[in-house]
Amino acid sequence: MSAPIHRAHLPGGENATLEDLRNLSQRLLEALTRMVRLWYERLFGPTARDLLGRSLLLLFSITTSLVIVGIFILLWAESLPALSSLGLGIFGPVWDPNRNLFGIAVFITGTLWVSSFAILLAVPLGIGGALFLSEYCPERIRLPLRMILELMAAIPSIVYGLWALKTLVPALRNTFQPLVSYYSGFGVLAGAIILAVMLLPTVVAVSEDAMRMVPDTLREASYALGASRTETARRVVLSTALPGIGAAVLLSLGRAIGETMAVLMVTGNSLVFPVSIFDQTYVMTSVLANQLGYALADPLYRSALFSVALALLLVSVTFTTLGRMAIRWGMRRKGLRR
């Protein structure tokens, strides 16, 4: 739509020469190059790269947050059919997919039994070990002990499971069968022991960290009042580090409920409500690991399994988050913030 260029419009007016025209075109070309360069800078230059990179990183941050949201939403959507059609019946006592009975109480009970006995074993031992490491132990012994505990945390749970299945279970059977004739070695006790072994590194590490955060001035004050090392450890260090120890218990509880493979291999996986530690049991993680792949075709069955997964997620996330909050709260309360 541009108007045709008349000689009158050009610099130099009516008297413009070819020279002027050439000048003009050169200037136009320069202006164009400048504009292109400017836009190139704007789109691809350092500032633009900064902005582009910044928005990419923002996208990544949002993605990481969306993962947990996605997991929640998907598990909720998947378990909705079972929750809406069964209602509170989902907590019924009988699990029999062949008869369309989907009560998950038996798995919840199993998880409660195994996890609580594991915690009962792991927490006192772990706190004792942490107390020794932080209060009594010479540095020369402390470092190797801590390294071994770190390595214990690194061993995959399938290896713990293998050991428990092939060594622990027969050993338990040989020990207790004379007392309890029906005992097969599989059951709550084996699950609790192997789970406790797997939890110990966490309990020790978290509670030892809490104990070492206790300022030395408190210990010195206690010694100055004539207390012995044990009295100081018990009355001063333990009580000051109490939030950290609570955090250790909560974190390990969260892990105990979510642990799958080792427990799956040694609890016997039979659908009964245990009444003693020698009984077999079936925990929530095991039923997911065992049956998930077969449930795809049956919507209600699949949905019931996903409500187990949702319950696992909620409980385990609650304990872990509470544990982390306890750590942070404990640090702030003592003014020991890192």
Binding site: S61, S65, G70, F132, L145, V159, L292, L305
Partner: protein
């Protein structure tokens, strides 16, 4: 006898205990006796805690070493584990971990950079940290269930069902919280003066971040990555329903794949004792992989400590 004198006595006892003397001497008071009893019993507990480690490692080595032959490592599985080796599982595990890292590392390191370098201490910052903490507490079997319904079922047109890609994506979700939080902490440890110097020279935030800040804390970030890798390399539960089964190494990411931990599981549950013995041999391989990654991570982080102390 006043309390003060008793205190002095306790202090002396404490020092003597530390030097390893005076154990032969009988305790002088009830308090000293209790002190020593606590020392001995807690020490006993601490040693007791490490016993399972030696029991398990020794058990696995003794039962697995005879089966750890070149055949086991170089041949793929045949006849449901009665013949052949575990090459498909070793290769599969490595591929799973590599692809999972390839997906998870850019996302989680990027998120760590954004939250520490770009965003202020605000809402987004808190949300990212909180969701990462929550994600870290999710049980591995729940990741498996999510991966099964999301990657294997809902996205089957894209992932091809139970494949290498589905398994790796499931594992990558598990890596995010570890890498994110460790990277954040190491980025925060970089002194602000380094960044200021770079910005004062006219560098943009972007080049300051990648050429100065990240380089300064690179070993610490590597430590976090290695710890996350060691963790997911040993995971079984997320892979049970997401990777499918393959008796050979996969040709593409849309093929089913075998993994070392799940192979150990099937070998362990097998009724044939010959196959059980292979589970131990495969466990040695898995432990070697995981612990060597872990030891390297430890070594790297110790190097970082030295560098920091040197200033």
């Amino acid at each position: 006898m006043g309390n003060a004198e008793e205190g002095v006595e306790t202090m002396k006892t404490g020092n003597a205990l530390r030097k390893g003397r005076s154990w032969l001497r009988l305790p002088k008071s009830r308090r000293e006796f209790l002190d020593r009893a606590a020392y001995v019993s807690l020490g006993f507990v601490a040693v007791l805690l490490t016993l399972p480690f030696f029991a398990i490692i020794l058990d696995v080595i003794v039962k697995g070493l005879p089966g750890l032959t070149p055949t086991l490592i170089w041949e793929s599985i045949r006849n449901l584990g009665r013949e052949g080796g575990i090459r498909n599982a070793i290769v599969g595990s490595v591929e799973l971990v590599v692809i999972a890292s390839g997906v998870a590392l850019p996302i989680s390191i990027g998120a760590a950079v954004y939250t520490t370098e770009y965003s202020r201490q605000g809402r987004l910052h808190q949300i990212v940290e909180f969701t990462a903490d929550v994600l870290a507490g999710v049980p591995s079997i729940v990741f498996g269930a999510f991966g099964y319904v999301f990657f294997v079922w809902l996205l089957r047109a894209f992932t091809g069902g139970a494949t290498l890609l589905s398994g790796a994506l499931t594992l990558s979700l598990m890596m995010i919280p570890t890498v994110l939080r460790t990277s954040q902490e190491s980025l925060r440890a970089v002194p602000i003066t380094l960044r200021e110097a770079s910005l004062a020279l006219g560098a943009t935030k972007w080049s300051t971040t990648w050429r100065v800040t990240i380089r300064a804390c690179f070993p610490a970030i590597v430590t976090g990555i290695l710890l996350a890798v060691a963790r997911i390399a040993g995971e079984t539960a997320p892979l049970i329903w997401t990777t499918g089964y393959n008796s050979d190494t996969p040709w593409s990411i849309f093929d089913a794949v075998a993994s070392l931990p799940f192979t150990i599981f099937t070998f362990a549950m097998h009724p044939d004792p010959v196959v059980n013995a292979k589970a131990y041999a495969a466990s040695i391989v898995l432990i070697l992989i995981v612990l060597s990654v872990d030891v390297v991570a430890n070594w790297v982080s110790r190097r970082v400590g030295i560098l920091v102390r040197k200033g």
